[in-house]
Subunit: 423 residues, 2 copies
């Protein structure tokens, strides 16, 4: 039996919970949630609080050019390889306290526990706060981890604009902390992320820990409809080129087709903008977003075919222009089976109920999974609700997940290497 895995150390529950609730004060909303949009003032305030906590325990903090934050606990080995743990501190516009923040602060708690116990593990541990996971201000989501994993080009990401035409490059230039080193190439041999499930499965199954075997594929589309602005009082119904009516028909059919296609399909229109947006003018321009997800890419292909068919039928019917642009395509992901086993053994050792499951949501771990051995741990959240201010996870579950993360990290140190690192 190995040295590190057999250690009986536990994380400090009180300190973990305190950190989560302290972080939740940054960008706090009225109904218990948070608003820390990527690259906003609040996002950088959150990074600064994390930096303070990391430097307090002697971690070596740096950021890369897309704003991913790395805080290193040096291992005994001089080698460049290290184990990454972390998640993200950015949130949805009306986000919860736990989505992302839990993964970062559980990682911090694991390192604090190692420091408390004077454990210097063989491998360095890098706590990571990935930039712009949510992708709701700047598309696509998982941006920081995708740049790190080289599936998105840095220069391309830096040029991304938000809806007010602000550019990531300029936001970073203004807000990048002056006293933090900018380092490009952080080597990782493996990566572990812990997160709330954001769905109802663990709660319904009465299990404490989810061992995530993989994640469903996810595609993002933009739909742009162009017609003609006209007066709402004078323009007869049959002479209109009303893009909002076309959008309403599109969205209604999109929802209907998705419900009929496959019961595991998730199909969402999350945002719509119409122009000129005046109550007495017919809309000459409408834009909306599409998000579709499923564990099998063939179902996503079928849904895309449906979407294109809806568009071509509406173009014929309304003599209007509809343009569909694919803005991202995150493939189905399988997590490393050796790491799944390590997580399962940690659950057994700690006597936590567990189950294998796939992730419905997108996570930074998905960006890394194709490049290095990667694993994910889920804990339940109340009523499966997330991306909502009401999002909640119990203190006991937060503690349990963090202990599983700790013992997974300890066990990873027992292997000389999990796999030849790609990054």
């Amino acid at each position: 039996m190995s040295k590190y895995f057999n250690s009986n150390i536990k994380i400090n529950k009180k300190r973990l919970i305190k950190s989560i609730y302290k972080m939740a004060k940054i960008g706090q909303l009225n109904n218990g949630g948070c608003r820390r949009l990527a690259f906003s003032e609040e996002d950088f305030k959150a990074k600064k609080l994390l930096i303070n906590w990391c430097t307090e325990i002697g971690l070596n903090v740096s950021m890369d050019p897309i704003g991913n934050l790395f805080a290193e606990l040096k291992g005994k080995f001089k080698k460049n390889e290290s184990i990454g743990i972390g998640s993200h501190l950015d949130t949805q516009p009306h986000g919860g306290k736990f989505d992302g923040a839990y993964g970062v602060l559980a990682g911090l708690e694991v390192i604090r526990t190692l420091v408390d116990n004077n454990i210097v593990p063989p491998k360095s541990i890098k706590l990571i706060n990935w930039s712009n996971e949510e992708g709701c201000r700047f598309t696509p989501p998982l941006m920081g981890s995708s740049v790190y994993a080289k599936s998105i080009k840095l220069n391309h990401a830096l040029k991304t604009l938000d809806k007010n035409h602000l550019k990531i490059e300029n936001e970073l230039q203004k807000k990048f902390p002056q006293d933090i080193k900018k380092i490009f190439n952080h080597k990782l041999e493996s990566f572990i992320e812990i997160h709330i499930e954001q769905g109802p499965i663990l709660e319904k199954s009465k299990k404490c820990i989810g061992i995530v075997t993989g994640a469903q594929g996810s595609r993002g589309l933009d739909v742009i409809i162009k017609g003609q602005d006209a007066h709402s009082g004078t323009t007869p119904m049959n002479l209109r080129k009303d893009t909002l009516i076309v959008a309403a028909n599109f969205i209604q059919l999109f929802d209907k087709r998705a419900r009929n296609l496959n019961c595991d399909l998730r199909a969402t229109v999350g945002n719509i903008l119409t122009s000129p947006g005046s109550r007495n003018t017919i809309s000459g321009y409408t834009f909306f977003t599409i998000d579709i997800r499923h564990p099998r890419s063939i179902i996503l292909d079928k849904m895309e075919t449906c979407i294109n068919k809806i568009a071509s039928d509406l173009i014929k019917k309304y003599k209007i222009s509809i343009n569909i642009k694919k803005v991202y395509n995150l493939p189905t992901v399988n997590f490393n089976t050796k790491i799944q086993n390590i997580i399962e053994n940690a659950c057994n050792k700690l006597n936590y109920t567990k189950m294998k499951m796939i992730s419905g949501a997108g996570h930074d771990a998905m960006s890394l999974a194709e490049k290095i051995p990667t694993g994910m741990i889920f804990i339940p959240c109340l009523n499966g609700i997330s991306h909502n201010e009401k999002e909640h996870a119990s203190d006991d579950d937060l503690e349990a997940g963090c202990n599983v993360l700790l013992h997974t990290i300890l066990k990873l140190n027992d292997f000389k290497t999990i796999h030849t690192p790609h990054l």
Copy 2:
């Protein structure tokens, strides 16, 4: 035969066109249109240009507490009664050069022509620029003229907020020109407005002048749908409370029912806002506007019944809250028949083709029609397009309409009084 009506004077076409195109420079957009939202910087710049033009020819300029601008050419009579002419300088977000501005600047041209010809008419002529006719930034439309006509309370109007929570009262306080008198009670014995038709009827009928007999009724509703924010990747389709899907179904049914109910009904959803408005979150809140118009109130009643039925069916189907609020109800209006006859006689005298017609759009003249003798003159606009940057009216039609306005005003001076004034 009377003295003033038999005058053969004509307006100065070149000066009229020059004024229209000069005014169009304020808030100019890229495709030939204008953006002068009510109470914006551009709106006040337009007022200031008008004030300069009016003071140049010795008119007495003042504004009332809602920002309606009055410029008076003193008549021979000392009596307080006067004839009002005018329209509005505010525009839609992507408005045209002629909607509103033509009516104000044709009124100015009429007064300039009287001054050129040293005509001092018996009655004072008041050129009026009504505040916030469009109602797209601050609801309802026809606000300034409705406050003047006492169908909206001044205090209520001043408290109106735009979508950024800016209040009219504060906007006026900041922007009200310091050197302009604030006067409350401008008496009018009659009011005449000239406007582009904003529809295709005159053009299709090959007529130069529309004698407007009345205007259709118009109602504004707000629809608010409340559901639940949730994660787009994890929330099964059958567990969602997605307000945007409900809105899409609502709008699609609304459009279908309106098309089937009556061929003269105009039914429009001009604006939609969804929250949190993130591509990977299900929308817990959606708001949209409804605008319905018809010459008969019974048809509008029927459409309102349809709208309430759609809402109650969707509430049942989706277990979601839908709230419908009526924000304005502008009744069907009939214009004064004596004034219609005067306009018709002016057309005959000037040899312009003409037809009687009703107005599809809302106009400030409608606010006044129930209180004092009021008339409206239309001229054609290209392809009937309005509330669009492409809006266009020919120089010849602009001239013709302005001459009809001039001779209508002259004739009104031949009557001792049209009617006992109410205002």
